[in-house]
Symmetry: C2
Subunit: 569 residues, 2 copies
């Protein structure tokens, strides 16, 4: 392709309303243009990237045996009423009426449609399992669309849905999707982690998010330095840490802490590190009373873990000062010694020796508290949020915490939709059996933005080879002033094309600096520069987009050299 | 692909609400399923066809130099208000409000969006011409969606838009699109005709429709037996026919036609063929008066032609009996002799000799009327609708009239949108110049239905090779009862795949008759049957979908034989 026939829409300045780097660069590099809040036109350069992403996704979905379908963007309200989501879904669901005043919505996902399709097409358990997918436009009327295509209202998603006789079959397809997603993001050239995600009401280990690692990611994820363990920080299991060294148990004694209530204040006042102070939090209990949650002073309570625990009321609600008083303690001076309410202690806090704890009276703490002797050890549970450096819960290596952008999500739906919509098959005995479902999404347009968040520098985008809009750019210096140079550049362009190289030939009448800047901004991975001076020595100049230096290579070897570079990607 | 892993969704019965053959067969063959009125799910088999159509369209659009973009389905009302279409477009435009009560619509086409994009991106005349296209979902809230995807509410369209400095440049792109469309429909394997279409207010020869010929087509088109002339019947030029033989001019005489008013009645009563009777129609004139339109009795007035003529009021309105009386005549007995109002005569009627005409008095006609002598010949114009057998207006061959399905439309828009939306470039002199536009559409989903309307029999679809969901089906007879046969079938399947043949292997445990019927219904162009009996003689049975008979071919030649068939397509 020639820039004279494939105009670039690059911008010198970042539009003022772009907040994150991928949004800025997608506008500056001419990949997208805003049509309205959260709605974007994909320009030719951006669409080339999007199509390459789609193609890799499609190939890997096909490889799993999933079958591609295409379901409408516009969906009838009746099916959403059947599933119960019509009432449940808030203003994020864009609704409209047709000319006969019938209600429809723009699909944010397609569970209702596929469940309706499958319940009509499939009669027997023998026809299962089945997995359908599509790559289709979705619409979600986000309360605050932002970050370009990262959080858009209209976007392209790959969504897949599987149907099963039993959970074993669901698990098999789920595992196959997990593998396919790993292959997809590997082939896309992205650094990513599959992480266990919160499954909310459904529970179990039945959901994974796939995150592209990037500093600007909205989610914090914890992953092992030595294994493939990875989980959302909110969900990662926190193992028991050994107690900080505190010598042999000493006698407990009451000390004055007249105004010291926080861990920091008590720790400083008593000269005991926070890791040896006990943090006592009183929250509402399921039975209407209160319950104490005990952690090490240097650890943070994980509310998602806490509210799933037996006895703790959900959503997690802290007790008031009056409730604490009613429980026989004083806010700021709480501790397990002599406290007569239910308690739960975190694994690491359970290991403490000679620790500081509140004395349940104003202005007093105990030092050298010890479990068993001074207070009965409560039930030991996982209460805290993991920290960087914690041992990985699988016993291999330590946890690193990084930020990630969620680009995929696989989910064991169970019977949520099939039960509500009576999607059944006849089983071996001629009885109705509700199908079991899984769903599997990839934010296709979001992947493009995430790739840029992970791969850019101050000059622009640095595309991973597999999704670059062009593999190579050919930049001639002052070509329009020299017929010899022009002929050589045209020949090299023709040779590269003939060798199957996807090359962008910058044949504009522009200064070399302008062309270089554009090619760096749009992130073409490989650059060849052809000039009169180089030509005199029979060379062209090569530079990879991440290289610090250029190198001269013989013009006659240029095609073979490039093919070698591309094959190595 | 194996049917065990790619389940067919064939139906024995046609759903009751399907009216035309393509709709019936698309449901029966399991290509689509209805979601709601005018909204369809594309099943895996149908999507394979749709993707093949899209691919051919995309390749040919790319070949013209048009650049692919992707514009949102949801469009902001503001741009439609700018173009004036927000008010003009009726309930066919599906409208919705977002959570902030801002108005949007679902795009039935994308003129506003592309015009907005281009006016923002393009500054100079030097950047023109430009042509963008997309393949995208559209929505039109049809008053009566029907015929499956033929007239659906949600559908897939290829829409292209070009931008120019002048009409010469527009004409060049228009011609290139005309060629590209011809290549597309040829490559799709369809019999089609590009036909001149009515351009409404814009006028000129600036619109062509592309029709797939099929008996069920909604439009009548006229095309030459000897050239590539083709036009919508409403628009086709009618040439002057020689007068029917009537001998030398005879003296005109007044005859009694007491109750005979229609051509049929007068012709029968006077024993003069309708082709020698003059039909006089009085319509409203532009100046508020009336004007007479004169045709041969065997010809039909073409209202679209008539209302474009100078002097005739649009829309065409027939004069009342009172107005005819006021003009000095009597309804049913009108004629040019002695009539003192403006008149226009059709080319063929102008050639008549010794013809019958109304005498402008009740119960009287003239016989042997002759132009010049009895009445002055009025201005001669093209007033009539062409008929089968008419000479083609390009002078080559005669016209055939056939029915067609409109699958493509190319259109010289001019400045309709660019003027309303102030889409301008700076010209050579630094002055603003309004861009000139063209638009070019193909109904991608409709093409699939049209292909079936043109290619089917009582057993099912007969796909043109280029868009068949699979090239070949391999049907084993009673395979599951014979390990030898199973091994041979598996080997042949593997060999075909290895040779790059897109083959569907029917490995179901089904009776041969069921498999044959399914493969004929879904329209696979080539069938191989492998059986124990054939295998004993070292042969397999081949049959093309249109063949009357099967033929045995050596098993060892099967792959080469099939490749030969496919290469010849």
């Amino acid at each position: 392709m020639r820039t004279s026939q494939f105009p670039l829409n690059t911008l010198k300045e970042s539009p003022a309303d772009a907040e994150i780097v991928s949004h800025k660069l997608m506008l500056r590099a001419g990949l997208i243009r805003k049509l309205a809040a959260g709605m974007y036109n994909w320009l030719p350069l951006g669409l080339r990237v999007l199509r390459k992403v789609e193609r890799i996704v499609r190939e890997e979905m096909d490889r799993t045996g999933a079958m591609e379908v295409l379901m409408p963007v516009v969906q009838p309200a009746e099916l959403w009423q059947e599933s119960g989501r019509w009432e449940f879904y808030g203003p994020e669901l864009a609704r409209l009426r047709d000319r006969h005043a019938r209600e429809f919505c723009l699909g944010p996902t397609h569970e209702e449609i596929i469940t309706d399709l499958v319940r009509n097409e499939v009669q027997s358990y023998k026809e299962l399992p089945l997995c359908y997918y599509q790559i289709q436009t979705k619409f979600r009327d986000e309360v605050r669309p932002r970050f370009g295509v990262m959080r858009a209202r209209e976007f392209v998603m790959k969504d897949a849905y599987s149907f099963h006789n039993d959970y074993e079959s669901l698990q098999q397809t789920y595992d196959a999707m997990h593998e396919a997603y790993s292959r997809i993001f590997t082939r896309l050239g992205l650094e990513f982690r599959p992480v266990r995600a919160d499954t909310g009401a459904i529970g179990g280990s039945s959901s994974h998010e796939f995150h592209v690692l990037a500093d600007s990611g909205e989610d914090a994820i914890a992953f092992s330095s030595a294994s493939d363990y990875a989980a959302n920080v909110e969900l990662a299991e926190a193992v028991a840490l050994p107690a900080p060294e505190a010598g042999a148990p000493q006698p407990m004694s009451l000390v004055d802490t007249p105004t010291q209530r926080s861990i920091e204040e008590v720790s400083a006042h008593l000269n005991v590190p926070p890791s040896r102070c006990l943090k006592t939090l009183v929250v509402k209990a399921e039975d209407g009373g209160v319950i104490a949650l005990l952690l090490r002073g240097d650890h943070e309570l994980n509310p998602i873990k806490a509210e799933k625990l037996h006895g703790v009321a959900a959503p997690l609600t802290f007790a008031s000062d009056e409730e604490i008083q009613g429980a026989g303690s004083v806010a700021g001076f709480m501790g397990p010694v002599g406290l007569n309410i239910p308690m739960l202690v975190d694994r690491s806090a359970a290991n403490l020796v000679n620790f500081v704890s509140g004395a349940n009276q104003a202005g007093k703490h105990y030092i050298n508290t010890n479990w068993g002797r001074d207070a009965e050890l409560p039930a030991v549970v996982d209460l805290r949020t993991v920290q960087a450096g914690d041992p990985s819960p699988d016993g291999q290596g330590n946890l690193t915490i990084a930020r990630g952008i969620e680009v995929g999500h696989i989910f064991q739906l169970g019977t949520k939709y099939s039960e509500a919509m009576q999607a059944q098959v006849l089983d071996e005995n001629g009885q109705n059996r509700t199908m079991i479902m899984g769903c599997y999404g990839i934010g296709v347009t979001r992947v493009v933005a995430a790739a840029i968040e992970q791969n850019h520098d101050d000059k622009g985008v640095i595309w991973p080879g597999p999704i670059a809009p062009f593999d190579v750019c050919l930049v001639p210096v002052n070509m329009h002033a020299s017929e010899t140079l022009q002929a050589a550049a045209e020949q090299l362009y023709a040779d590269l094309k003939a060798a199957g190289v996807d090359v962008l030939f910058d044949d504009r009448k522009a200064r070399a600096g302008v062309m270089f800047a554009d090619m760096e901004l749009i992130g073409i991975p490989h650059r060849l520069v052809i000039s009169e001076r180089g030509l005199a020595g029979g060379t062209v100049e090569y530079r990879g987009r991440r290289d610090a230096e250029s190198q001269n290579i013989p013009l006659s070897d240029a095609v073979a050299f490039l093919r070698g570079k591309l094959a190595a990607e």
